[in-house]
């Protein structure tokens, strides 16, 4: 390595030119509109904060939160900075390195928290989290090494959506809230046969091609995925086997569209359920608002639908069904102007409050605080189902995070994602593919 040192010095020089201060820069980029130095007052001095969001036209939740907060704290003005939804994390990372990220950073996918927090891009907001009400769920998803870096404002969880009209046409009883996976599978097959007999082209169920559609349930119900010593983190994925066996059986028997057809025809779950190509579908609660708006706009067919709890492994958990779903939250840019920090923290406390929850529920969003009032507000929207089971399914469940937080989670999830496509496409059999994935995770082969 004789050549190494001068070369390294040269590179370090270039580095200093290019990246100097990228660890500390950015403090100058946020213009101070308040009287500098006054950190205390939230009451009087006007403060302007910036906040990230995406698809602002079709995603009203950001504006809703901003408007609701304006009523509580009229001196705080929050301006939204729009991002592309599908490359959000990439653009946010770029902005963070360039010192252009907004003051309040929406954490779209909780699994990026670890990367941003360990890179010192997010501020420790443990004090805000400590003051939150006990009804708030999902804060643990933003904890890294014992500190909190985000506050959840919404908490989606996966449910079983069903098309009541199609169930009626097939003459099959709608879900009763006590389903196990075996009931689900046999009903799907039953529906497929009877729908065909009734002259309908719809299939019994639809399982979207994402890895989370299958692995999310397996991880939540069997994977012990928040435990660092659990099978998800340590790499022992045999627990997914029954879930894959069932999915493969359903697609081979024709009760659901095959994975290969979903991926090659780029099927969207919104069209599959909204255009009545399936009688049932497991999906996250975000779909409630989308389905209601698409039925209103005419993009989706008009039909009666309902929600049921996610199927369970056995009857022991049907009273409080176990499902999964990641929260969406807000964090604070570590490079925020110190004079704005308190205002930002106050806003974070607000987004997880009962007031914010009601405002969000009014536009069909599932807030992180669940209560009877919130459920009532969600179901008050026109186009929502009115049956008792839908309300229970919406409100009562134990929601596990889809992924825990940690250094290796991204790589584990990539390994499992590859296993998912290999198994579902029929390129590899589940047993050997899951064994390979387990071995890769054990060896940290990434």
């Amino acid at each position: 390595m004789k050549l190494g040192k001068p070369l390294a010095a040269l590179m370090a020089g270039a580095l200093a030119f290019g990246l100097a201060g990228c660890g500390s820069g950015g403090t100058t980029s946020t213009p101070t509109t308040t009287a500098a130095g006054t950190q205390t007052a939230t009451a009087s001095a006007p403060v302007t904060l910036t906040m990230s969001g995406w698809s602002l036209k079709t995603t009203p939740e950001f504006q809703t939160l901003v408007d609701a907060y304006k009523k509580v704290a009229p001196n705080v003005t929050i301006t939204l900075k729009e991002y592309d939804p599908n490359t959000y994390e990439q653009l946010m990372l770029t902005d963070m390195t360039g010192g252009q990220a907004p003051d309040i950073i929406t954490i779209k996918q909780a699994k990026y928290t670890w990367q941003w927090a360990t890179g010192n891009a997010l501020m420790d907001v443990s004090d805000v989290v400590a003051g939150l009400s006990k009804d708030v769920t999902g804060a643990a998803s933003y904890a890294v090494n014992g500190k909190n870096y985000g506050v959840p404002y919404r908490q989606d969880s996966w449910l079983l959506f069903y098309n009541k009209d199609l169930f009626d046409a097939a003459g099959v009883a709608v879900p009763d809230g006590k389903w196990t996976w075996d009931t689900y599978a046999s009903t799907a097959k039953d529906l497929t046969t009877k729908l065909a007999a009734a002259g309908k082209t719809a299939l019994g169920t639809y399982e979207h091609s994402w890895q989370s559609t299958l692995q999310g349930f397996a991880n939540a119900q069997k994977g012990d995925n928040t435990n660092p010593a659990g099978p998800y983190m340590t790499g022992n994925y045999t627990y997914m086997q029954p879930y894959y066996d069932r999915a493969l059986d359903l697609q081979n028997s024709g009760a659901q569209v095959a994975y290969g057809d979903i991926s090659t025809n780029k099927l969207t779950y919104q069209a599959q359920f909204g255009k009545q190509s399936t009688a049932m579908m497991l999906m996250g609660s975000w779909y409630i608002a989308t389905l209601v708006s698409q039925q209103t706009s005419g993009d989706a067919d008009k039909f009666t639908w309902g929600m049921a709890p996610a199927p369970q492994v056995d009857s022991s958990t049907v009273s409080t069904p176990v499902t999964f779903g990641d929260p969406t939250g807000m964090g604070i840019n570590a490079k925020i102007d110190p004079s704005k920090l308190q205002a930002a923290k106050d806003f974070l406390a607000f987004v997880a409050s009962e007031d914010a929850a009601k405002a969000l529920a009014g536009i069909g969003i599932t807030p992180s605080t669940s209560s009877d009032a919130v459920t009532a507000a969600v179901f008050a929207t026109a186009g929502m189902p009115s049956d008792a089971l839908s309300k229970t399914a919406y409100q009562v469940h134990k929601t596990m995070p889809e992924n825990p937080s940690g250094a290796d989670v991204m790589n584990i999830s990539t390994v499992l994602g590859a296993a998912h496509t290999a198994i579902m496409s029929g390129s590899a059999d589940a047993t050997s593919e899951l064994a390979t994935a387990s071995q890769k995770v054990k060896d940290k082969d990434w």
Partner: protein, 276 residues
């Protein structure tokens, strides 16, 4: 007789081949006339049940299609002019002037093409920010797209096919090196300039990642970035039909430019009376 049959077969083959090349475009047009949730289905439906002609009105009224087109046209034109000018200028230096370090420098130019952009886009973004170039109208993308190795390399290769004797006699007539570039090399490189201009234009027109990262202000969106606003994240509702309506509209200008501009590929040196 057999000559005629051969020709007929050639035409049939060409037409079949062209049809095969235009299938995706046909699908795009058909999808642009569907309802949003009918774009993807199993089995494939090629022809819409009901033609949604209003999509072609909606794309103008419900989105900023006009702004996007204007920005993209402006961007592509500026980049193309700058790329052709600086690229052919540098190419003259590389192909006709001999100086120490020339070949190594040229190899460095070409070698940078081999580095994947994903790997250095973050250092590049930081650098652009430090230089104060981000967030200023279309400038970041103009700068990013103009100074590439592609144009230099392409023009150097073509300049090498132009006989030395022409420059030599021009030099005797008292032309400077810059004059030779302007009056001898450029006029004789018609097809090369035309193809460089076309390819640069198309690449800038269709570039997506660069504008996505550097052009954040809605007023500066290019068409490719604008079209992405029709796509929601997996949780929302995408406007798939409008996406393809916009895509069809974005392909048309290039197709027109190509159809009218393609004759430049066959004119140029071959007809300029050059004695090789």
């Amino acid at each position: 007789m057999s000559h005629r049959v051969g020709k007929a077969i050639l035409y049939v083959l060409l037409v079949v081949f062209s049809a095969f090349l235009l299938v995706p475009f046909f699908w795009m047009i058909m999808s642009s006339l569907k309802q949003n949730l009918d774009v993807f289905s199993v089995p494939i439906r090629w022809i819409p049940k009901v033609f949604q002609w209003h999509n072609y009105v909606d794309v103008w009224t419900k989105a900023d299609m006009g702004t996007w087109l204007k920005n993209t046209l402006l961007l592509s034109t500026i980049v193309t002019i700058l790329q052709v000018l600086t690229g052919s200028f540098a190419a003259y230096g590389f192909s006709r002037v001999r100086f120490p370090g020339r070949d190594a420098l040229f190899l460095a130019y070409v070698a940078t093409i081999a580095v994947p952009w994903q790997a250095y886009m973050i250092p590049q973004f930081i650098l652009m920010t430090r230089l104060g170039l981000t967030g200023k109208w279309l400038w970041p993308i103009i700068i990013l797209q103009t100074f590439g190795a592609f144009g230099v390399f392409l023009m150097k290769q073509f300049f090498e096919t132009i006989p030395e004797e022409l420059s030599e006699s021009a030099r005797l007539d008292g032309l400077s090196e810059y004059g030779i570039w302007r009056r001898i090399m450029l006029p004789l490189s018609g097809p090369a300039l035309a193809s460089l201009a076309l390819l640069t234009f198309v690449n800038t027109w269709n570039d997506y990642m660069g504008p996505l990262i550097y052009l954040r202000d809605r007023a500066n969106f290019t068409i490719q970035v604008g079209l992405k606003t029709f796509q929601a994240d997996p949780q929302g509702s995408s406007l798939d039909a409008l996406l393809f309506t916009g895509s069809v509209l974005s392909v048309l200008p290039i197709a027109v430019i190509f159809l009218f501009g393609q004759r430049f590929f066959i004119e140029g040196i071959a007809t300029s009376g050059l004695k090789g």
